[in-house]
Amino acid sequence: MEVKEKMGRLENEEYIINMGPQHPSTHGVLRLVVALKGEIVQRVEPHIGYIHRGIEKMCENLTYQQIIHLTDRMDYLSAHINNEAVCLTVEKALEIEVPERVKYIRTIMSELTRIQSHQLFWATFGMDLGGLTCFFYGLRDREKILDIFEESCGGRMIVSYNTPGGLMNDIHPNFQNRVKEFLKYFRGVIHEYDDLLTGNVIFQERSKGMGVMTKEEAIAWGLTGPTGRASGFSCDIRKHNPYSAYDKVTFREILYTEGDVFHRYLARMEEMRESMNIIDQLIDNIPEGPFTAKMKPVIKLPEGEYFQSVETARGELGVYIVSDGNKNPYRVKFRSPNFVNLAPLNLMARGSKIADLVAIGGSLDLIIPDIDR
């Protein structure tokens, strides 16, 4: 009698488990407290802060050139785009026009960054869903982009290539040939991505109709990047608010209406192809000229508030700088895409199985250091 009563109580009770902070599928130190009923997710509560380094506060004691190297370490897969965001804000505040050459190189580098980020997404997403093969193929192709970065910037992932007013050094003489070589190579092998994962019946069964966000929800929660665009929210900063050389190229904004895991994945696949088209249009017409505008050694922004947003591989990154006229900023705030994209995880995962929570979390392509900063 007693045992039966106890069993009955257990059946109705929620079972709370910790996923993370060392769980490999959270891609970093994200702790998810998951309330389960059997295998069904009732509630997901993300606990963040395990890799909080206080980057925003550290920026207040650094000069504008020194801030750049910290932004590499936020979203380390779009390091170059993060650098660019700070540089654009500083240049906007100083009202200087950077040379055309710089704009072209920045755009090409940003798109290469986007491709390598999505390649890593593809590799790890496949691995999350049990296809370990994807990991090797994704990293094999990503290596070629990292080599391009290493040759020109000196770093593979943490590039620190931008500086307010221009670039740290000019592109390597081999750069254009290498990029063209890569595009030719990658166009030849990208069909393998589709053959291996996109068309796979197990993958489709696990991803279609999972974690649906409607367009209204996506707008309400502020989802950006491929995650928002898969729900039909047209939010591409490159299109709506062009910076650098994006106003000189034509490209398609990838939009889907389904908003499930599968279409978030498809959006990233298509973005890789679009990025290659953008690079194609720019790589042969890099104008001659200096690789940096003339800058004073000590940069002092005029008093005021400045904001600039860019499109990273994961969504909209906004940089907000308050200056009091000194060589250090008074306050810096980063609007990071991952923090916002993580927020509706509870809404997406509620009612699905715990194995699908891994798929939903993977499809958001979260970078935890960007959430915590």
Partner: protein, 159 residues
């Protein structure tokens, strides 16, 4: 009847999609020449890093054991995390003037974030990046390095 056809079509399409994926992996299995694994510790003799690779900060010396560092300390100011310490000394020149030189140029490799600001801002190009990337040591104190070699002097003509 229709649902039965759908059922078998689903099975057929599923198996087909798996086979398509397996042709990719199988193709590479039978073409081992197309894979590109680097045999890293074995190829150390032939491994060439890119010339701009930011391995660690070094101070190049010429064959007469002379360097270009004047001890101005601009690298120390620009370093975001205090990886560089310049300990200056004064030297009396032949004309009897006092001149600032470096006693020690200390570089904490363990703190360095490889932003490249010291190398870029040095007015006399005294610093450079080496392509060394094997930084592992057993003792943390070994990561603190003195960049100027013992007995080295300032190169002539560098102010």
């Amino acid at each position: 009847m229709k649902s039965v056809i759908e059922y078998f079509r689903g099975i057929f399409n599923g198996i087909k999609s798996l086979l398509v994926g397996m042709t990719v992996t199988g193709g590479y299995f039978f073409r081992p020449g197309t894979t590109l694994t680097q045999q890293y510790p074995d190829n150390r003799d032939t491994l060439v890093m890119f010339e701009r690779f930011k391995g660690e900060v070094v101070m190049p010396h010429n064959e007469k054991n002379e360097h270009k560092c004047t001890g101005c300390g601009i690298c120390e100011i620009n370093c975001p995390n205090g990886s560089i310490e310049v300990i200056p000394a004064t030297e009396v020149t032949e004309e009897g003037k006092k001149k600032r030189i470096i006693d020690k140029h200390i570089y904490h490799l363990g703190m360095c974030t490889f932003c490249g600001l010291c190398v870029k801002t040095c007015p006399s190009q005294a610093l450079a990046f080496s392509q060394e990337f094997e930084h592992a040591v057993f003792d943390r104190t070994k990561l603190t390095k003195v960049l100027n070699q013992p007995g080295s002097k300032l190169m002539k003509g560098v102010e």
